[in-house]
Amino acid sequence: MRHTHDTIIIGGGLVGMTTALALAASGIRSAVIDSADLDATLAAGFDGRASAIASATWRMLAALGLDAELEAKGCPIREIRVTDGLSPLHLHFDGTGDASGEPLGYMFENRHLRMALVAAGAASPHIEVYAPDAAATIERAEAGVTVRLASGGTLTAPLLIAADGRRSKIREDAGIRIAAWSYHQTAIVGMIEHEVPHGNVAFELFYPAGPFAVLPMLPGTRSAIVWTVSERDAAATLALPERAFVAEIDKRMGGFLGNIRLAAKPSSFPLGFHHAERYTDRRLILVGDSAHGMHPIAGQGLNLGLRDSAALADVLAEAVRLGLDLGDPQVLARYQRWRGFDSMSVMGATDVLNKLFAIPGRPAATIRRLGLAGVHRLPPLKRFFMAEARGASGDLPSLLRGDLP
């Protein structure tokens, strides 16, 4: 079959669109299909979440030319303070000790990331966006992938990329099983304004019910909160009148940012962990949440997804420069080997971290406190944690070093 594109990407969200841009850097032509009207996803009310972008991920966005649009919108994280509740003992990740002076990462409103990506996608000569639209049928055959659009057209390519989220229909149709469990926790996310400037510090306070994160946003007196509550308390917590809700937040923060008030209506997301048994199938590659999802405790979910995009960009750039069929089993196997190991190690560490902090009782708290102080005293371990937060551990794809593939 004569192909209309080099890849067909299902899902034009943060990971799907970044993947398209990362591939476009090597002249790889993608069709991006999304059921949503992408312009509508840019409206203020669509997604009130914020994301931590690790420094390595930021280098990738900059290499893709998104820095001009995004630079003024990201709040640098210079320090991460991890504490057991409001204990004075804390694990302190300080980005300023690094010779480069590079912050540990940046906090962005998802809306701003989406805006920059959608605009760059629309401007790229190598990306065609079909949205709102849907893949009515998808056929992955020996000679290539054929997608019939709900709107009537037919697209063909040697490779299909699933960026259709944690409940990926493509993954399911391919018969790829997932290991999944729920933490029986719900993340309540919201935005607060506070009296005392955050000073570019991210706080992660661990409580038996789950972590409570305060993440610095622009301007300096605004922060995103990720408040983990047990599943059964979620509805009641969200239903609290604003004053009572703020009082609950205040209780957990202990007033270290002064008086606070809500800047946006909070919303909630169930927390779970899932991992696909494999990231590839015939002429198919999974990226982002379709492949793996984890607890947002360490702010690694989106970063891990974007690392998929970066690794895939290297794998496909090499394949296209050698004239290989992009859906060749060897090409897919290289992606599987690269990403399978990296995401398993990040996800495993994150899961252990969450479980450790979720154990109630004094002995566990003592172990955590000693553990935190211990990590702090051991420079190599601390460096690993910091590199992980920055997203610089493992075998780095070119884009995460700030280079084009």
């Binding site: 002249g27 420069r321 290989l324």
Partner: protein, 243 residues
């Protein structure tokens, strides 16, 4: 009737395994695995020789390319995707039929022919890039074959060749290991006595008016697969231009 360097017995052997060419998991698995390594060498040499941009995905655009001993088209198809105007020849009729069918399925335009170097040369065809992977060890008359290649290569053209070395290690690896023990390659594919050492091949190419500009080894490590290396004892790949 033109003279030919094709060995009829060898051509029949390849005919019988033609349907296996595109099965990436069958007896052609090593061929699929070594292909990116060969292509990487072709790319490295061609980018320098034709002064192409390393970020360009169509680095063979505008060039006339000939693949000698194309089999099912495992190398010819990438060469066509890279923008080359590809002619590909093989002595085995069945392989050419498989190659044509596969290229049609992939919508690639490749001029496949059951033909010989000598016949093409007689037609007066000339090419910018000629690839000749694992062929010279199968031909009946090496000097005639290489003179044929030289006459097909444009004055500023580039030849890339690969072939097994004739060493104790290559005997152990290719004949005993790959053909007899692992059955990676069908038995009788190779005649070790016909293998050429890099020095012998360099001398033979010189006699045909071609100058070898580079040779590298193709090694295999269980942990990493095939890779370009400095070890030429089993298999080597090289580039040559008109002297």
């Amino acid at each position: 009737m033109t003279t030919t360097t094709i060995d009829p017995a060898q051509a029949r052997l390849f005919d019988s395994i033609a349907h296996e060419w595109w099965n990436a998991h069958g007896s052609s698995a090593p061929l699929h695995k070594v292909n990116p390594v060969r292509l990487a060498f072709v790319r490295e040499q061609a980018l320098a020789h034709f002064r192409r941009d390393s970020r360009d995905r169509a680095w063979l655009a505008g060039l006339d390319v000939l693949d000698i001993g194309c089999g099912g088209g495992i190398l010819a198809e990438p060469l066509a995707r890279l923008g080359g105007r590809v002619t590909a020849i093989d002595a085995a009729a069945e392989a050419i039929a498989v190659a044509k069918a596969h290229a049609a399925e992939s919508s690639l335009e490749i001029d496949y022919r059951q033909s010989s170097v000598e016949a093409l040369a007689e037609e007066g065809r000339r090419f910018d890039l000629i690839t000749c992977m694992e062929v010279v060890e199968h031909v009946a008359d090496v000097p005639v074959f290489l003179r044929g290649i030289a006459s097909l290569l444009k004055p500023a053209g580039l030849l890339v060749f690969s072939t097994p070395n004739r060493t104790a290690l290559s005997y152990g690896t290719l004949i005993v290991g790959a053909e007899w023990v692992l059955r990676f390659i069908p038995r009788g594919t190779h005649d070790w006595n016909k293998f050429l050492t890099p020095e012998e091949l360099t001398t033979a190419l010189e006699s045909a008016g071609l100058k070898v500009t580079e040779t590298r080894g193709i090694g295999f490590r269980p942990s990493r697969g095939f890779e370009l290396s400095d070890d030429r004892r089993i298999n080597y790949i090289g580039a040559a231009v008109h002297a």
